[in-house]
């Protein structure tokens, strides 16, 4: 940041001095001594340093300015980050004995009714004389000066850098006619430029610092969410992250539907005893409390000044007990359910800039995600606990039966003292062979099903000719299909389907196998394939129709679940579950309908599945069972 050289070689009497660049019109120059030069430069440096740093020391600024500029009151008015309000610092001379000291007071008020607001529109110096003492609103008399009735002479200049107005510098004296002097005015404007540059520098730096803090806080929260932390820890990280990055206090409250009460789940920067106590009041879910309002209206809400906001009388107590003056709430919700509320609290009224609000919403959505996920995980865990036992017992049963047969046959053959006939020997060995086949089928099915359930099904998709797949499957079932007249009802010019060829074959295989097992001998099995142009995405529809038992309505969903026993199940009841897993991994649907004959009586079953012609993305199957 270049200060330039501001030559404050000002002689009150004469009225000429150099401008910033040191060039410019100069008539007779009153050349100062080198000592004075130094003093001036030093003073400028001190002026600048007084406004730098996280807490600008305006009293020092006043002390420095006083040496060159007359005033009894000086005010620095800066625009708030959110541009909705102005921050005013007023420095008065202390009226006590000893060296002059300055006191600084601060307050804020809305931009609309401020002098600065006007200055933003038309930046220009404003010179005023009040014969009877200053009397008027901030917009007319100055944001810092307006309350001081003693003042007779005022000068307000914008703190402007390039075209940007950051705030104003307001000066007032009790004595009249102080600022009429043009040279003085120029000096003040020059000082204003220096101040503006210094302040802007600080603001930019501050922004970077804030951004860094926020980055770090965001990273912490993301880490918490992606590592397997417990929900309470995650919520804690979120409020702490928010508090750290935005320099505010934060809390998460969950709404318990059963008791209709709010429960404080995480806190940062708020009193751990008082805050929960206050919130336990059950009136808090009403609209008169900002939290209740948020819960009911499913919208973020902001209150800039709790003590004066009439919408939320119930929250006045926050200001009293906890020194909270502004509040921002964010509902934690999905679609329709509101779980709770995320709160930001600031001790200052109007403490939330748009930047803070953005970050806040980001954190809020993370919080919702965390809550949602953990609830989901909880639900899944419950379900899988109940399923696990069923799976284990069926697997062990189904594997043991063929193993028992094999063991029996083989040990029998091994027994030295038993004499088996050639035929008996042959029969036992054939048993062993077929039981082994059965075991193989089961083990393979188990492996496939676990792949599907774990979401580890990797599909190798390519453009497949469904007809080719069907023929391939038929070839594999050739022997068993021999006794069933099979009819193919294929729409001509079927499009190719983007799918995993081997998995698709498995689907057909399982469906045909199912049809064969449940059809009476000689009954016809039909495979019909056509194209459905439904909604935006056309799909291929396959129907496998058999004349076996009709699946009753209450079973139609359950048969697609793994280890379903009972109706139309066989072996370990995995076949249809596998079909479902594969079809759904291709973004298709599978279901069963009843087949009705001409008289309207149930005469068979129709298994139907659809496949989008182009299944895009999604390599693994959802855990569907």
């Amino acid at each position: 940041m270049q200060l330039g050289v501001i030559s404050l070689t000002f002689n009150r009497g004469e009225g000429e001095f150099g401008d910033e660049s040191g060039k410019g019109k100069m008539k007779t120059r009153t050349r100062p001594s080198t000592q004075e030069d130094f003093a001036i430069v030093e003073r400028v440096a001190r002026i600048v340093s007084s406004v730098r740093g996280t807490k600008p020391d305006y009293r020092r600024l006043a002390a420095e300015l006083e040496l060159a500029i007359p005033f009894d009151v000086v005010g620095i008015v800066l625009l708030r980050h959110d541009r909705e309000g102005v921050r005013v610092t007023v420095c008065h001379r202390e009226e006590y004995q000893g060296p002059t000291r300055w006191t600084a007071l601060q307050h804020q008020h809305p931009r609309e009714s401020s002098m600065l607001g006007q200055m933003l529109q038309t930046p220009r110096p404003i010179l005023r004389e009040y014969e009877n003492g200053l009397d008027g609103p901030p917009a007319l008399c100055g944001d810092a000066l307006s309350s001081d009735h003693r003042l007779h002479s005022t000068l307000i200049v914008p703190l402007i850098i390039e075209e940007r107005v950051l705030g104003t510098l307001e000066l007032g004296t009790i004595a009249p006619n102080t600022y009429r002097d043009e040279a003085l005015q120029r000096l003040v404007r020059a000082v204003a430029r220096v101040l503006a540059a210094a302040i802007e520098g600080v603001q930019l730096e501050g922004k970077t610092q804030i951004q860094d803090r926020q980055h770090q806080a965001l990273k912490d929260v993301s880490f918490a969410l992606t590592s397997k932390m417990e929900l309470p820890t995650i919520l804690d990280q979120i409020v702490v992250g928010l508090a750290k990055s935005l320099n505010v206090a934060s809390a998460i409250m969950m709404y318990d539907r059963q008791t209709a009460l709010l429960q404080v789940e995480a806190l940062a920067g708020l009193d751990r005893e008082i805050f929960p106590k206050i919130c336990r009041c059950n009136a808090y879910v009403r609209e008169e409390c900002i939290i209740g309002y948020t819960l009911q209206h499913h919208r973020p809400s902001i209150c800039y000044d709790l003590t004066t906001d009439e919408r939320f009388p119930l929250n006045h107590v926050y200001a009293r007990e906890l020194n909270i003056h502004s509040v921002y709430t964010f509902p934690l919700m999905t679609d329709t359910t509101v779980y709770g509320v995320l709160l930001l609290c600031s001790a200052e009224p109007g403490g939330f800039t748009p930047l803070k609000v953005d970050i806040f919403s980001l954190f809020a959505s993370q919080a919702t995600l965390a809550i949602d996920t953990s609830m989901l995980l909880e639900a899944v865990r419950q379900r899988s606990l109940s399923q696990e036992s069923a799976l284990l017992s069926s697997v062990s049963h189904d594997l043991r039966t063929p193993l028992t047969t094999i063991k029996a046959a083989v040990t029998g053959l091994l027994q030295a003292d038993l004499a088996w006939s050639e035929q008996a020997r042959r029969e036992m060995l054939e048993d062993v062979d077929s039981e082994t086949d059965q075991l193989t089928v089961m083990v393979n099915a188990l492996i496939e099903l676990s792949r599907i359930e774990m979401g580890a099904l990797m599909l190798e998709k390519e453009w497949c000719d469904i007809v080719e797949v069907i023929h391939g499957t038929q070839a594999k079932l050739d022997r068993r299909l021999a006794v069933y007249p099979m009819h193919l009802d294929l729409q001509p010019h079927l499009p190719l389907v983007y799918a995993d060829h081997a998995q698709l074959e498995r689907v057909f295989y399982n469906l045909l196998d199912n049809a064969i097992r449940h059809s009476p001998e000689g009954a016809e099995i039909v495979i019909a394939v056509d194209v459905l142009e439904k909604h935006e995405s056309p799909c291929v529809r396959v129907r496998v129709i058999d004349h076996g038992r009709t699946v009753p309505e209450h079973e139609r969903e359950r048969i697609f679940r793994s280890f379903h026993y009972g109706f139309r199940s066989y072996g370990s009841g995995l076949g249809l579950a596998i079909c479902k897993g594969i079809v759904e991994a291709h973004q298709g649907c599978i279901w069963v309908e009843a087949l009705q004959n001409d008289e309207g009586k149930a005469s068979g079953s129709c298994f139907i599945f659809t496949l989008p012609i182009r299944a895009n993305s999604g390599v693994s199957a959802r855990a569907t069972v």
């Binding site: 193989t440 393979n444 492996i447 453009w463 080719e468 081997a502 074959e505």
Partner: protein, 242 residues
């Protein structure tokens, strides 16, 4: 074709399978050598130059696994290799085929299947050893006839016009009849070494070829799909040299 005198190297880490294979193959007249791990396999191949190698892909004891053995053996010799793979090893199976294995068997397999593959492999090895540049390729039933030099293809006696790519594809399939050719090997052979991943592309050509050459393109008899692996010319082919 006689089994006598043919040496088969069995590579498997599990003793029951070793015993089983040794027994069955010996019973058919083959001489059997057994290696327990990858390093042994390469060593024994180098020393004995077997006529065929049965290689289990899953070799947990040792630094070399089935794929490594494939690669190293191929560097030394052109001995046919049949890989024994488990159901979950699809990708590795294809990888082995791409790296030089000739055929595969999925565990558990029946002895019948094993012996059939072994016979087919040995026969192919014999045939290709004798004829490197066949003039005529003809399917056993006479349905498909290809005269390579004249670039002529007859389907049931009628001439069929094939594009150069289709011709090359068919020629390759017929030359290696009975052997599953992986997508990659076909792509490289027909299109060039820069190709390898474009299975979709290959599919289109196979489809086209089937339409010209098969009786029922959707129910092919000659050019069959091996899902996830590649294609195979399923019918025996008689090869005539010039």
């Amino acid at each position: 074709m006689k089994a006598k005198g043919k040496h088969i190297l069995v590579v498997d880490d599990e003793p029951p399978i070793q015993r089983n294979l040794r027994r069955n193959l010996t019973a058919m007249g083959y001489e059997v050598l057994v290696a327990e791990n990858g390093e042994q396999a390469v060593e024994m191949a180098r020393l004995h130059y077997p006529d065929l190698i049965l290689l289990d892909l899953h070799l947990p004891n040792g630094k070399l696994d089935g794929i490594d053995v494939c690669v190293q053996v191929r560097q030394l010799m052109q001995t046919p290799i049949i890989v024994l793979s488990a159901l979950t090893e699809e990708k590795r199976k294809v990888q082995a085929l791409d790296l030089g294995a000739d055929d595969y068997l999925t565990k558990p397999f029946s002895t019948e299947e094993l012996l059939a593959r072994v016979r087919a492999c040995l026969r192919r090895a014999n045939a290709t050893a004798e004829i490197t540049d066949p003039e005529v390729l003809q399917s056993e039933d006479g349905y498909l006839y290809m005269h390579v030099a004249r670039r002529q293809v007859l389907v049931a006696g009628h001439e069929v016009r094939l594009t150069p790519t289709e011709f090359e594809l068919l020629r390759r399939l017929m030359l290696y009849a009975g052997k599953v050719l992986t997508h990659r090997s076909l792509l490289r052979a027909v299109w060039g070494p820069e190709y390898g991943e474009e299975a979709d592309y290959l599919r289109v050509y196979v489809r086209q070829l089937r339409r010209k050459v098969e009786v029922e393109p959707s129910r092919p008899r000659y050019i069959l799909t091996e899902p996830g692996v590649g294609y195979v010319f399923h019918v025996r082919v008689e090869v005539q040299s010039s």
